[in-house]
Symmetry: C2
Subunit: 285 residues, 2 copies
């Protein structure tokens, strides 16, 4: 067997650690940087026996690939930091960002002599086979697909153009997360207007589980809402640049922002708590 | 049997004539004004044996009730015209308008000494039993429910407050028509970004009919899109006044506006024609 490929994961969050596990299935050795990360990230890194580095520079010196899995607003700074740390391998950005931002990251990688691969993860953390897709595009996408696709992650190469994988991710999330945000606004408006019970009675005429399914959908999204706001803003920019109205997802960002306070809650809130969060802040558009 | 109640319908469009049919089931005599209406409206009025008037003043003199079923943007002018024609009965506005607009109409009715009932129709033209709901609110809502609810229309009184019936209609339509508009934007963005086949392949992984169901949903809405744009604007205003983001439905209005050209098409357009309409106009936000 050849020497293992060394891959850095930034960072082993709930999603990142599942990506690390899938990369490990290829025989690669996966590294991380412990500085500034949470106790939970330490535990996740340990659970996958990731190689610990104290600094980004140390990780960059050790790795042929660096994979970025972070909130959208941090993606560009993350790439910049990796380039500044002297990285000289292949940089895979797997974040929920607009194609334009992916192209900007490719550009700053190119300035540092680094090849960038554009990625987008569709689905939740990849702990079940065939449930999470990593879309990839760029000249080196096929190599990344081989590296990442031996575990639970399903890889899909969507061409050589930087931005295509991000575009696919944006469009997919636009529909799933956009719908949930719109539903939140509808239920919130009905509550505010004093017609929620009447609306839910009509929804339940066709299917008497409909309203409780809607409530569950809202409750289930609350814990993740804090990071969806930024993703919705990326989608709004993606749509505007593609000639479609950005307003759906600007509004969705405002909705998820209102739910951001549920981030660290141990239990999923009931519908009354969700409505209270939606209706408390009426400062946004 | 008592003398029949006389009810004016403005106007017997596709929806209005089905409302007229439901009102006739109560034993009422239904009237309409032929001036300025289309040949199709004439045929519809004839099919229900409506009493024809040449002028609005003549209809107003003959009727105890006037029922307004028209596009949202015309609702206020319609009410004004009826008051100016000297109407002295009960005015039922059954249009897809914001609660604020319903209250403005109630106000201009009150200035003319006329009682207004707020209504909102949920569902398509009422040709099947139990499929179309007429929500009603206002002091005289119960009387209108008796007048309208003997045929296929299911009537639902949502209290005495003007605006409640409209609020219920707005919230219901916000979800159904808002979703279809958002789906149109997602498919349009994917097409514009060159990832539509990839997106649709992912949609079809779980359910291999999903993409064709989406195409059908888009094609089916095109003929009605011209009048949905105004309704979406009413919903955006309703949401903003209720403290929810108006952006979802401002964007939805822009989407339906782009599809407005399909109004008179005899056949439903295929997905390529829908996409072409969505992508041709990129002037709106």
């Amino acid at each position: 067997m050849n020497n293992p490929v060394n891959v850095g994961i930034l960072h082993p969050g709930a999603m990142g650690v599942s990506v690390a596990a899938s990369i490990k299935a290829s025989g690669a050795r996966v590294h991380w940087v412990s500085a500034g990360r949470s106790q939970l990230s330490c535990e996740r890194a340990k659970s996958q026996e990731l190689q610990t580095h104290e600094s980004l520079a140390s990780l960059c010196a050790a790795c042929t690939y660096v994979v970025s899995v972070c909130p959208p607003h941090a993606a560009e700074d993350q790439a910049q930091a990796v380039m500044q740390a002297g990285f000289q391998g292949v940089y895979l950005d797997a974040n929920a960002i607009s194609p334009q931002r992916a192209q900007r990251i490719a550009s700053l990688c190119a300035d540092a002599g680094v090849d960038m691969v554009d990625g987008g993860i569709i689905g939740g953390p990849a702990w079940q086979p065939d449930s999470t897709i990593l879309a990839l595009s760029g000249a080196l996408a096929v190599g990344c697909a081989e590296l990442c696709g031996k575990g639970n992650l399903v890889t899909q190469v969507v061409g050589e153009e930087i931005g295509k994988a991000s575009a696919l991710k944006m469009c997919f999330a636009a529909w799933t997360k956009g719908q949930t945000a719109m539903l939140s606004a509808v239920v919130g408006a009905a509550e505010s207007l004093g017609v929620r019970s009447e609306l839910e009675a009509i929804w339940d005429r066709g299917n008497n589980e409909q309203s409780s399914a809607h409530h569950k959908r809202l409750s289930n999204v609350t814990a993740k809402a804090w990071r969806f706001a930024g993703e919705m803003e990326e989608i709004a920019e993606t749509f505007s640049a593609a000639g479609m109205p950005g307003g759906f997802h600007e509004a969705a960002a405002a909705i998820y922002q209102r739910m951001a306070g549920f981030k660290d809650d141990a239990e999923r809130p009931g519908i009354d708590a969700v409505l209270s969060a939606l209706l408390k802040n009426t400062d946004e558009k």
